[in-house]
């Protein structure tokens, strides 16, 4: 049997610091997409509450407790990370995403300015607060963007897009840094 070496999506690419911004990888070892069946959102939320102390998030919101978190991921869908899911049979369609997602944390004074170059949204703190999430684009690539703190965001894309994401963020950060 060949000796297979597990690599994280952004291995060898991150971390990197450019100007006032640091890009680092958020390793997501396992993620599940949870899509409640019609009318079952409340029941799914209750089951998540009991098992992981999180709820099924409203659109554009996240729910988190310790390592467990649920990130709204589009119409009727949330990605659950960092906890063992309860049995949701009959309540929701659950799709294991494995480690198929690449996530990058972008933090620093220039984080908003860097994302402003790539994302067609107002991500400033007044409108996009901690715990808010958005499905949008990073340049031409669909992505999930979440605010983690006053100066930090997480950007999530499909794992196959890891290198593209790092490239886009790096280039934007260099542009921001060049302006001083």
């Amino acid at each position: 049997m060949a000796n297979l070496v597990a690599r994280t999506p952004c291995e060898g690419l991150l971390p990197v610091t450019i100007g006032s911004v640091t890009l680092s990888e958020v390793v997501i070892e396992r993620m599940a997409a949870v899509a409640p069946f019609k009318g079952k959102e409340g029941a799914v939320s209750a089951a998540l509450k009991e098992a992981c102390d999180i709820v099924f998030p409203a659109p554009n919101r996240t729910s988190s407790k310790g390592d467990a978190r649920a990130v709204w991921a589009g119409q009727g869908r949330a990605n659950v990370i960092g906890c063992d899911l309860p049995d949701l049979s009959g309540l929701a369609a659950v799709t294991d995403q494995g480690d198929g997602v690449a996530a990058v944390k972008i933090e620093g004074d220039g984080a908003e300015a860097v994302l402003a170059r790539l994302v067609p949204l107002d991500l400033r703190a007044a409108t996009f607060k901690r715990g808010h999430t958005a499905r949008s684009l990073v340049n031409h690539m669909a992505a999930s963007i979440t605010r983690l703190g006053p100066k930090s965001f997480e950007v999530m894309v499909m794992r196959s897009m890891a290198q593209t994401l790092v490239h886009e963020l790096t280039e934007a950060a260099e542009g921001v840094a060049a302006r001083g």
């Binding site: 659109p59 067609p120 958005a134 499905r135 949008s136 999930s144």
Partner: protein
């Protein structure tokens, strides 16, 4: 142009993909004749003014009926196609 996603709010047009006229939601019953089906499949209005069409919000996966004006370019509203169809 900025379109309205019922989930995400007003978003840039680049996040959306156009499908066609919202008449596609008014599917005739199986029993009606070939003429009605041909109309449903092939005939479209080409309005100067108020129009409703289907857009897909790519990042969030919602089908939306957008009510807009082809003359003034105003975008009036966006509704979930699943709600409109009820």
């Amino acid at each position: 142009m900025r379109l309205i996603c019922p989930h995400c709010g007003e978003r840039d047009r680049r996040e959306f993909t156009y499908q066609g006229a919202a008449e596609i939601l008014d599917r005739p019953s199986r029993e009606v004749g070939n003429d009605d089906w041909a109309d449903y499949l092939h005939l479209r209005e080409n309005p100067a003014g108020e129009t409703k069409d289907m857009w897909y919000h790519d990042p969030c996966g919602a089908w939306i009926v957008v009510h807009r004006d082809t003359v003034t370019h105003a975008v009036h509203s966006g509704e979930l196609a699943s709600e409109v169809r009820k």
